[in-house]
Symmetry: C2
Subunit: 319 residues, 2 copies
């Protein structure tokens, strides 16, 4: 029987049935409404839609923000979903849908989805999935299980500190967080800095400087623009710097790179930059590769966690 996996992001909600570690059938996408009540309504409507057509075993939700997966409550805010903190999501959805529900941080769900979909990864000591998007999210799988830390905030590695001079402010309010450099908006900030005092005659991107989009820079780089290419190279260095820090902390077998920005990663370059900055013992055996599931990771992982929870509950002996 399939499980309904839902990925709740800042701009859209995606929902699909998951069976055998993959999406089966169509993925439904709706825009994320404003406000917690409206989001819950949208989630309930999606659950109803899928329940109508098919018997489903449960409901797995991957959401932005810090989540206590035991209570299913969103315990930490995210700038992308104002008013979401404090929502007792599992309790609400379980009581309204009568479906077994699991709520998980989206980066954790995405990492777990990947180890479910790729059997070799499940046997590894440590797999770290890095979602490169508007921000950076990290999910850590140790011995096949999601590692959540003491306050469910493990892998909030978008906010590791990659510089020390208060150069770039992150949307979280802190300074010099990794995602202010290595995420999509980090690439924009890098190009913006490089375009200072550059005229549109020297580089056509300069005309767009104050309204620069990630895609503008990537297109210009593809078109041979030297400044844009240099910004994209710098972005790879910034991504590498964070991976180096994760290497020297967690010493993973493997990084899985996913998220909207991951399709612009030159993996050979990234591997080279990481190896250059890492102790040989660590980098020699390290693997870095693109995600297999890509944007389906959150849905697959959240759904798989429902199944894992169900199995665990069955193993508890009856009194």
């Amino acid at each position: 029987m399939p499980v309904l996996g839902i990925d709740l992001g800042g701009t859209k909600i995606s929902a699909a049935l998951v069976q055998n570690h993959r999406i089966v059938g169509e993925t439904t996408r709706v825009p994320t409404p404003k406000g917690a009540d409206k989001i819950i309504e949208a989630l309930l409507a999606l659950a109803e839609q899928f329940k109508k057509d098919k018997l489903i075993l449960g409901l797995g939700i991957a959401t932005a923000g810090i989540v206590n997966p035991d209570s299913g409550q969103v315990v930490g805010s995210t700038g992308n979903l104002p008013g979401w903190e404090g929502t007792a999501l599992k309790k609400i959805l379980q009581s309204k849908t009568a479906l077994r529900t699991h709520v998980e941080n989206d980066a954790n769900a995405s990492a777990y989805g990947e180890v479910c979909a790729v059997p070799e990864l499940a046997k590894k000591t440590a797999v770290v999935a890095v979602t490169l998007g508007t921000g950076i999210g990290v999910g850590i799988i140790i011995d096949g299980k999601v590692y959540r830390g003491a306050h469910f905030a493990a892998g909030e590695a978008g906010h590791i500190k990659v510089s020390m001079d208060n150069r770039r402010r992150c949307t979280c309010g802190l300074w010099d967080c990794w995602e202010a450099y290595g995420a999509g908006r980090g690439l924009v900030a890098t190009a913006w800095e490089m375009l200072e005092n550059v005229t549109p005659q020297q580089c056509p991107l300069a005309a767009k400087r104050d309204n620069l989009k990630t895609q503008d820079i990537l297109d210009a780089a593809d078109g041979g623009d030297v400044l844009a290419q240099s910004a994209v190279h710098k972005w790879h260095e910034h991504v590498a710097n964070g991976l180096v820090t994760l290497c020297h902390t967690l010493d993973p077998d493997c990084f899985v790179i996913t998220g909207g920005m991951s399709k612009f990663v030159d993996f050979d370059l990234l591997r080279e930059l990481v190896a250059d900055r890492t102790l040989p013992r660590v980098s020699e055996r390290l693997e870095i590769h693109p995600s297999v599931l890509q944007e389906a990771g959150g849905m697959v992982g959240a759904a798989e966690l429902v199944l894992q929870q169900a199995l665990q509950d069955e193993q508890v002996p009856a009194i």
Copy 2:
């Protein structure tokens, strides 16, 4: 029955009997000789000395370098112990002493010693012990067990990258490693930079600039020297920056700070600096405190790991 704990550092070897999570009797210290053969001779002599007087259950060694604790081999070099890489330490010591032997990275041993000595720590999700000395070593305890990573290099966090401009070279050859800022030699480098173009009339430390010792700076700060105080404050910021990155990766319950430099830490200042730079969800419940065992941590932890290994072996059912 006690276990012999030995801590092998770059300058000295310390050995003592360990029972009930603490040192019993005297600690013997000898200088670390040069070369792997000579070090092994010194370790064997210490084992003989302690065996002569008392029945001992086993031998636990905490050593600098990356260690495979299953084989007991030193698999990664350390600048402090040239020629040490590749030494099959457990095999040699076990065959020569006939004692059950466990070999562990010193930062890991120190962290494990601390959770053995402080019962509340053993129940935590994650405890991170940070040894601030000439370099920085980190030991990670997850659910009461040493977390070693995929290549036994977890917690090589002295080499997390805290800046991005290749400003300071680390002794490992990489640039801008945490220990190049937050360890004892980091404080020296910071003061050295601040003393550029400063005359001895302006600051007496300037006279010693090219042969500066950590203690000179700490003494000058204690004596009211403004530049030295500023360097010590900067050093606290540098220590905090690394802890922030560990928070946003591992989300520990607690940091235990140990090592020779830890006695110069102003813990209230350090807590404030970390809280300022960390997501509220993480910092609100985070504890940072000095180690209970201090320099005995490596010996206690290595010895406790011998006992843990013995218990594990007994639990394996006989065929």
